[in-house]
C-alpha cells in the first residue's frame, strides 16, 4: 500500500501496522516476526545495559536502522519526571526526536495517567520532541493532546497485553471525528479481526506487540496482522454498504418463470 502512505509530522510511513519488539523468545524471532509483519516502525524500550555480560547482544544489531524507524517508548514510567527523563535518554541513545510517550497510571491495568501524559507531552514538545502519546480512549484527552502539539494520538483498544480487542468502538469513532491528526490504535488487540476492525473504523494505523509475540506461531500471526491491517484499510477506503434490517435481493426478479 505504498500509494497510501501514513504521514505524521511530515514523516512518511510505509506501513500502517506498527509493532513492538518485546516478549519474543530471542532476537532472531523478533527480527523474523517484524519482517513478516511488513512494519516499518518498531517500538523499543530504554533500559540499563547489561554490563556484567560482555557478550550480550544488542537489539539494534538485529534491526537495521536504515530499514526501520525506531520508536522508543517510555514504558514502565509512572511519573511525569520519569517519562521526561526516559524520553531524553531515548533521544540520546538514538537518532531522532520521536517518542512514544507513556505515563502509566496503575500496575494492574497499565492504563495511562492522562493528566501526567498531557503534562509530560507539554514539556517534551517544548524541547522539540515529536510526541506520539499512548492515551486512553477518551476523545476529550485526545483533543487536548492535539491542541498542545501532538502530531498523532495513540488511543488504546483495551489494556496492554489483554487481547480484548476494541472495548469502546463508539469512543474510538468519536476520537476519529474529533481530532484532525492520525489516530493509531495502540494496545489490546488480540487477533486479526480486531486489527481489521480498527482500520475499518478509520484508524490510520495499529500498533501491537503481544498479539504477535504471544501467539503460538508469531510469524504466522505477524503475516495475518499484515493482511488484516491492509484489508481493513482498503475496506474503509472502499466504503462499506449501510446496514439494513431486511434483505435486498442480489438477483433480478425479471426473467423468472
Amino acid at each position: 500500500m505504498n500509494q497510501d502512505p501514513l504521514i505524521i509530522a511530515g514523516r512518511k510511513f510505509r506501513s500502517r501496522l506498527w509493532v513492538g519488539t518485546g516478549k519474543y523468545k530471542n532476537f532472531e524471532e523478533t527480527r523474523n516476526a517484524i519482517e513478516a509483519s511488513g512494519a516499518d516502525v518498531v517500538t523499543v524500550a530504554v533500559r540499563r545495559v547489561n554490563i556484567t555480560d560482555n557478550k550480550s547482544e544488542n537489539l539494534l544489531d538485529y534491526l537495521d536502522p536504515k530499514k526501520y524507524i525506531i520508536l522508543p517508548n517510555t514504558a514502565g514510567c509512572y511519573t511525569v519526571e520519569d517519562a521526561v527523563r526516559y524520553s531524553r535518554l531515548a533521544r540520546a541513545a538514538g537518532v531522532s526526536d520521536l517518542v512514544k510517550l507513556e505515563v502509566i497510571g496503575d500496575e494492574r491495568t497499565l492504563f495511562p495517567d492522562t493528566a501526567g501524559l498531557i503534562e509530560a507531552a507539554k514539556i517534551l514538545i517544548a524541547e522539540g520532541f515529536v510526541v506520539l502519546p499512548y492515551t486512553n480512549d477518551d476523545p476529550i484527552v485526545a483533543k487536548k493532546l492535539v491542541d498542545i502539539g501532538c502530531p498523532a494520538v495513540m488511543p488504546l483498544a483495551a489494556p496492554i497485553g489483554s487481547g480484548l480487542g476494541i472495548r469502546n468502538p463508539y469512543n474510538l469513532k468519536i476520537i476519529l471525528e474529533t481530532v484532525n491528526v492520525p489516530v493509531i490504535v495502540d494496545a489490546g488487540v488480540g487477533t486479526a479481526s480486531d486489527a481489521a476492525l480498527a482500520m475499518e473504523y478509520g484508524a490510520d494505523a495499529v500498533l501491537m506487540n503481544t498479539a504477535i509475540a504471544g501467539a503460538k506461531d508469531p510469524l504466522m500471526m505477524a503475516t495475518a496482522m499484515r493482511y488484516a491491517v491492509d484489508a481493513g484499510r482498503l475496506a474503509f477506503k472502499a466504503g462499506r454498504i449501510p446496514r439494513k434490517l431486511y434483505a435486498t435481493a442480489s438477483s433480478p426478479i425479471e426473467g423468472m418463470l
Binding site: T30, N54, I70, L110, G161
Partner: protein, 85 residues
C-alpha cells in the same frame, strides 16, 4: 582530580577511583573518559545513552568527558518493548 589525557604539558594524575555504573560499584584507574569506560565494557557508543550524575551527555562528548571519584554513571540502550509487558 585534574586529568587531561592526551596532553603532555599538563600534569596528568593517575588516580584510583570508585564509580557507580548502573547501580554497581566499580573501581577504576583514572583518568577515565566515558568513551574509555564504554570501550572497557565492550559497548558501542552509537548504541547507548550515558547519564553522569543525572546529566545526559551528548554522544560527541564521550571522548572528552572525564569521570571522577564518586560519579554515578548510567548506561542505557534500546531493548525489546511494546506495548509493554
Amino acid at each position: 582530580m585534574l586529568a587531561y589525557p592526551g596532553s603532555s604539558e599538563i600534569f596528568c594524575q593517575y588516580l584510583f577511583m570508585k564509580i557507580v555504573v548502573n547501580g554497581e560499584q566499580h573501581e577504576a584507574e583514572g583518568p577515565l573518559t566515558v568513551a574509555h569506560l564504554l570501550q572497557k565494557l565492550n559497548l558501542r557508543s552509537e548504541q547507548v545513552a550515558v547519564e553522569v550524575n543525572l546529566k545526559i551527555l551528548d554522544r560527541g562528548d564521550f571522548p572528552t568527558w572525564n569521570l571522577h571519584d564518586g560519579d554515578k554513571v548510567e548506561i542505557l540502550s534500546f531493548i525489546g518493548g511494546g506495548s509493554p509487558a
